[in-house]
Symmetry: C2
Subunit: 343 residues, 2 copies
């Protein structure tokens, strides 16, 4: 399988290290990977015979400008890949823009149109144009892997597609954001205020300097929306989700809930009702019999209910660049094993 890597930040480099480390294991199931391109901000590298991964990962540890590597040039871009069309699959790990989806969206359209499978970690294009991209892939007999866009290592997309195959998903419920779940646990266990818990999360590098997207519920809403559109075949937008966050929760609220043996979770929920599909994100005090009660700290989970397979909870999902890269690799391997994600 000839690959192009587009976007060579933390996850991209972790993926290259993984592909190197797992070369033998992948070859054992018939998957011999050859990296023909690495493209990022500065330009790219093109080596039709395959880039030496060991040399390249060593190089990357020293030098941010990849065009200085053999085969590198500012003239090697995504356009080069599209024109040459000499790879089987492109991994798109561009920075996410949830308003325009660019540059990832344009890349995906061009690469799929050129007959190249796409696997991506970029939420923007999937959020804005999943159905269009799926159709494009389908018409050309190509695959589109998006597992990394929702939960990283947590197989939330796989769970709804592969583990629920043949069943109809009736509702989706999830603790989809590790940062807010960590803050809630700190407030609960330590009795500290929201502000103090947030500061601790920021110190540990769990929360970002501007935590708005996480704490106001937008990251959860984004993931819920992707899962809803993918699993229910819909074309909803963020405007269809009722969103609230965790910033107003007090320790008194937590104490009151604890009296009833309940815990607060930031839950994203899609339900099919007689009035249609409703989507919401907000704090809920859940009791111990609720299957998401035990999702603690940085863990994430998603629960599907279905017509014939009952309830399924998927919980876990390690955080960081290596698990995210492993999630991209999972899609690549499942495509190699022949799975049709875009049927």
């Amino acid at each position: 399988m000839r690959l192009a890597i587009i976007g060579c930040g933390g996850v991209g480099r972790a993926l290259l290290r993984l592909l190197q480390k797992k070369q033998a294991a992948l070859a054992a199931e018939g998957l011999a990977v050859c990296i023909n391109y690495v493209v990022d901000y500065y330009g790219g590298i093109y080596q039709p015979g395959g880039i030496d991964l060991e040399a390249f990962t060593g190089f990357c540890a020293q030098e941010p400008d990849i065009t200085k590597f053999p085969g590198g040039s500012a003239a090697v871009t995504v356009d080069t890949i599209v024109q040459n069309a000499d790879v089987d699959l492109a991994v798109i790990m561009t920075p996410t823009n949830k308003q325009t989806g660019q540059p990832g969206l344009g890349y995906m359209r061009a690469l799929l149109s050129a007959g190249i499978h796409v696997v991506t970690s970029d939420k923007g294009p999937v959020l804005l144009a999943y159905e269009e991209l799926r159709q494009l892939a389908r018409e050309r007999g190509l695959q589109l892997g998006i597992g990394c866009t929702t939960g990283g290592a947590l197989p939330a997309v796989n769970g709804g597609v592969m583990d629920m195959a043949g069943a109809r998903i009736l509702s989706i419920e999830g603790v989809l954001n590790g940062t807010t779940n960590f803050i809630l646990k700190e407030m609960e266990d330590g009795g500290v205020s929201y502000e103090e818990a947030l500061q601790k999360a920021q110190k540990l590098g769990i929360a970002e300097t501007d935590p708005t997207l996480d704490v106001e519920g937008w990251d959860t809403a984004t993931k819920l929306l992707i899962l809803t559109n993918v699993h229910m075949g819909l074309k909803k937008t963020l405007a269809d989700v009722e969103v609230s966050g965790i910033t107003k929760l007090t320790n008194e609220d937590i104490r009151q809930a604890a009296k009833e043996k309940k815990k607060y979770k930031l839950i994203g929920r899609t339900a099919v009702t007689e009035q249609g599909v409703s989507m919401s994100v907000g704090l809920e005090a859940v009791c111990s019999s609720h299957l998401l009660y035990g999702v603690e700290g940085r863990n994430k989970a998603v629960m599907y209910t279905s017509d014939t397979l009952g309830e399924l909870v998927l919980m876990g999902g390690a955080s960081g660049v290596t698990p995210a890269a492993a999630s991209v690799l999972r899609d690549i391997v499942n495509i190699h094993r022949g799975y049709d994600f875009v049927r």
Copy 2:
């Protein structure tokens, strides 16, 4: 896809009802199913143009002897299917024999050799000869779906194969038996003795009249063994599993554990150590931070730890003939979607 149904008991009939009910949904993804054979104890039905499912499910509600249905004959057997080789996939739902694997094992060998995909709910052959059957399928470019043998609706097999694709599974831990988990919950909540809880489970049809296989841990051991062999590529046998059950647990034990905020679970565990792979089944008092702590009542769960994707818990898995049939259907659909389970 032309199917043969072998074994027409509760799960078999539920599958036929499901295939009928889901005809339109399956057709929408290009899966038009045609049942050419139904074979069971009395003989079978052969209709090369496809059996009318609506008529047949109606007939089944009235009459146990399927050979009285049009196309039925005592002479239609699995041999007929093997000789004609005019189906794409056979679903084998024979009663399980864990000592010999028969009759399912012989059927699977013959059908795979005849170039027919196999999906099965029969634990026996998978327990005794998974690797042989996998190789047989692989050599002939066929698939072997075994999801229903371990947890029914719970996608324990899928979870380790599809959701962990590209990662190496380092340990398997599970609450794999709903009956014992129900009994433990009854003892915990109701303060009743083991015997009383067992009687309640028997009254509700959750425990069998002879509950030995469940309460002594053998059902858990069987499932653990299948998952271990499938996910780790091993050929272990039941003799390699250290097995104990729940029959000696007292209410005093439960009270002591509760003081430490722990709960007893019957846990099957496979761990890779420096000494090799160890497998065991036994009661463990787990604390609330353990990801299997929240698996209550008849629920089941399995947890995988891996090298690159961290921990994954799959929890849920409705019980009964319809969810079991839906699990068989899941394998059929995933095979239709092109997945290579036997790589």
